[in-house]
């Protein structure tokens, strides 16, 4: 659990540290909307972390997450997994939109999303799954 939390902290640190891909965008921009989304995602992460570890959920190449293997989800969580993933993706999509808006360039949303996609995968823990050219790869 400690490992997972560390992993998450590293990801957060990476996400909100300087961004080299889109030199003009400030990924650290902070607005009440971004703060609310970060809080919401952070609260959900404790529910998601075991599913990244088990391979039930993987990171997609477009900066979102997807159910990779339902059978890896404990039965008690199986019913809620789709709603959990949908809620996380709604927050992620909103986050990319808000960061673009916070930079005063809503049209940067796509670039910001792909920058984040790369960073999520770079900073994912070993053993987590991510999508590469349409296939799942174990890190």
């Amino acid at each position: 659990m400690q490992k997972l939390m560390m992993g998450f902290l590293i990801i957060l640190a990476a996400l909100f540290s300087a961004n080299s891909v889109n030199a003009a965008a400030d990924l650290e921009v902070n607005t009440p909307a971004i703060a609310a989304l970060k809080n919401s995602m952070q609260a959900r992460h404790t529910q998601l972390a075991p599913h990244y570890g088990s391979g039930a959920i993987g990171l997609t190449s477009d900066g979102l997450i997807a159910v990779r293997d339902t059978t890896a989800v404990p039965l008690r969580d199986r019913q809620g997994i789709n709603a959990l993933v949908a809620a996380e993706n709604a927050d992620r999509n909103a986050l990319y939109k808000e960061i673009a808006a916070g930079n005063g360039h809503p049209e940067w949303r796509g670039d910001i999303q792909s920058t984040f996609a790369g960073r999520w995968i770079d900073k994912a823990q070993g053993g987590w799954w991510y999508q590469k050219e349409g296939s799942w790869v174990k890190k």
């Binding site: 009440p32 909307a33 989304l37 339902t70 059978t71 039965l75 008690r76 709603a83 909103a94 808000e98």
Partner: protein
């Protein structure tokens, strides 16, 4: 499950195919079998009669008709008895196939026109390919008996499990101690479940009946009812999966419930939920209701009267009082001529409410007026500084569509001896992660005496007007507005205390308290003023400041009058709102200077 059932059928068919046994060992090898329910290949069947207890081994690859590929399949019986014709016992058996692991014992009795089966399984696990129907560590019993009368099978069965967990999309049964009893008739292709009763641990007993076409697997009719069951169990097992993505998907609930629903020809035809002494609380803290008693019927064809009563609650921290509501529900719409939501000593009164669900989205509109709510109570409840006055208002129409709440008309707060009007209110996604509120505020003749005493700012006498235009709050925090406040027109006392001057200057200034103390002004407790004014154009976190008038180096916040007089000037044009709010708390260093004439 259908797959497992099909595997079992293929298996039993193959067992009945073997008739000749004698001597010591029977071995049957079958290359390939095609049956209406599937295919079987590479079958190796062996019954060993040499040992004290006969044993059975079966290996095969089976392909039930709906499966894309062959599935390896192993069945073993450590004690295999077929001494009486029509009787088969398989004790200490095990069934292993892809995603199925089932230690079991079975007793099977078959005659031409009836059969019975008793099966005990121990720590069994199974799953379908998608994982949407699965069980783990299940220990329990299955009984099935059937009799053929006039080409119609009359049957009864029961499934019970004492240990393990079961997931049957979208329902999860985590607590063992569940029992499913069922009986009915079968006349191909119609399976008629006449009486089914499901006893679910921590929920209670549900009874139902259903008609299923086994050729199409279509469930024609289902009728389920449950009386006096535990609402927490009912919610977590049966209701939560249905409302997972709505505002009701993450609740803590308690109380008792009756529940009934009916599906006819694949369409929901009626539903009823009655709640007794129930409570619901959103785990995200958005709303809660306690001591709910509700009657929530719904019928596809007929309008029904819905009633809900609760003792207390809150929505977005706004306290809700003892309430009784009734409305009419007609297929996918709600209507109510009048609804009253008591809030503290006042109430929100809704008129001509009408709501509808269209493509899973809510749409509603209503008229609204407030029975005045005292600010004293309201501010106390929200943990604000204690305020006097009343909130009242009348809004011709409030509507909600596409997750946006819109108010057509103004709400008035009669506070601080004046009025604050709120107009053009819109809230995007009010119960979502990022609610966004848009509004204009109009403040008139606020009594500065009341206001400054409330916020312990140092006394200022006078009246204040203010306009906040184009206000946007993100997650209830301001990110955009054009605001200005200034002394009201007309004659009124205009005095500012030394402490208020110190506080205004200290909001952005150097140690002005000390500056005042260094001059003769320290002998005066208050000063006259001509005008007070401040403006802020907020963009994200930056406020472009202004005052009652501009100077070469900044702007005037307090313009003094008479002798002695103090002016308070601001010099910083752009101020960070979070800094300003921080300063308001700490009153620390800055750039405002006091001019003494």
């Amino acid at each position: 499950m259908f797959r497992q059932f099909s595997i079992a059928c293929v298996l039993w068919l193959s067992m009945f195919c073997q008739q000749a046994y004698a001597i010591s060992t029977i071995q049957v090898q079958v290359g390939e079998v095609d049956a209406p329910i599937g295919q079987l290949k590479n079958m190796q069947f062996q019954v060993d009669l040499k040992a004290i207890e006969p044993t059975l081994k079966l290996h095969a690859e089976v392909k039930p008709i709906r499966e894309p590929a062959f599935i390896p399949f192993d069945l073993k019986c450590a004690q295999f008895n077929t001494e009486k014709i029509g009787h088969i016992d398989c004790l200490n058996g095990s069934l292993v196939a892809k995603q199925v692991k089932m230690p079991f014992s079975i007793n099977f009795v078959s005659y031409p026109n009836d059969f019975s089966m008793n099966m005990a399984f121990n720590a069994a696990s199974f799953s379908d390919e998608s994982g949407l129907h699965a069980g783990e560590n299940l220990t329990g019993k299955i009984k099935l008996a059937a009799k053929n009368i006039n080409r119609s099978w009359q049957w009864n069965g029961s499934i019970s499990w004492d240990e393990g967990e079961l997931f049957w999309q979208p329902f999860y049964f985590g607590k063992a101690g569940n029992k499913f009893d069922v009986n009915g008739t079968f006349k191909a292709p119609l399976l008629d479940i006449e009486n089914a009763s499901l006893l679910v641990n921590e929920v209670g007993k549900m009874t139902g009946n259903a008609q299923i076409n086994t050729r199409t697997n279509a469930v024609k009719n289902i009728n389920v009812s449950a009386k006096d069951v535990d609402f927490a169990g009912l919610y977590s097992i049966f209701l939560k999966p249905m409302v997972e993505k709505s505002a009701f998907g993450n609740l803590a609930v308690s109380g008792k419930a009756d529940w009934q629903f009916e599906i006819k020809n694949l369409e929901p035809s009626s539903f009823e939920l009655n709640l007794r002494d129930a409570s619901i609380e959103d785990k995200n803290g958005k709303f809660a209701l306690s001591q709910i008693n509700a009657h929530l019927p719904w019928d596809y064809d007929n309008a029904k009267a819905v009633s809900i009563a609760y003792k207390s609650g809150h929505i977005l921290n706004m306290p809700l009082g003892d309430t009784k509501l009734s409305a009419e529900v007609n297929r996918y719409s709600f209507t109510a001529p009048q609804l009253t939501l008591p809030i503290l000593d006042g109430a929100l009164n809704f008129t001509d409410l009408s709501a509808a669900i269209i493509a899973d989205n809510w749409y509603w509109h209503l008229g609204m007026h407030l029975t005045p709510i005292s600010m004293n109570e309201f501010s106390k409840t929200l943990d604000w500084p204690s305020m006097q006055g009343k909130i009242s208002g009348q809004v011709p129409q409030v509507s909600y569509a596409g997750k946006q709440l819109m108010m057509d008309g103004a709400m008035t707060f009669n506070v601080f001896g004046g009025t604050i009007g709120m107009d053009n209110l819109k809230i995007d996604d009010p119960l979502g992660v990022v609610p966004r509120l848009y509004a204009d505020l109009l403040m008139r003749n606020l009594d500065l005496g009341d206001l400054t005493r409330t916020f312990s700012f140092g006394n200022i006498e006078g009246k204040l007007d203010g306009d906040v235009k184009n206000m946007v709050l993100e997650n209830w925090k301001p990110v955009y507005l054009d605001a200005s406040i200034q002394t009201s027109e007309g004659k009124h006392v205009k005095k500012i205390s030394q402490r208020a001057v110190e506080n205004i200057t200290a909001l952005g200034g150097e140690g002005t308290a000390a500056a005042l103390q260094r001059t003769f002004l320290r002998f005066f407790k208050e000063f006259n003023y001509d005008k007070i004014g401040l403006s802020c154009k907020l963009r994200q976190d930056v406020c472009e400041m202004g005052g009652v008038e501009s100077t070469k180096t900044g702007y005037v916040i307090v313009k003094g009058r008479g002798i002695p007089s103090v002016n308070v000037n601001g010099y910083t044009q752009n101020v960070s709102l979070s800094d300003l709010l921080g300063r308001m708390k700490r009153i620390t260093d800055g750039n405002t200077k006091m001019l003494v004439k």
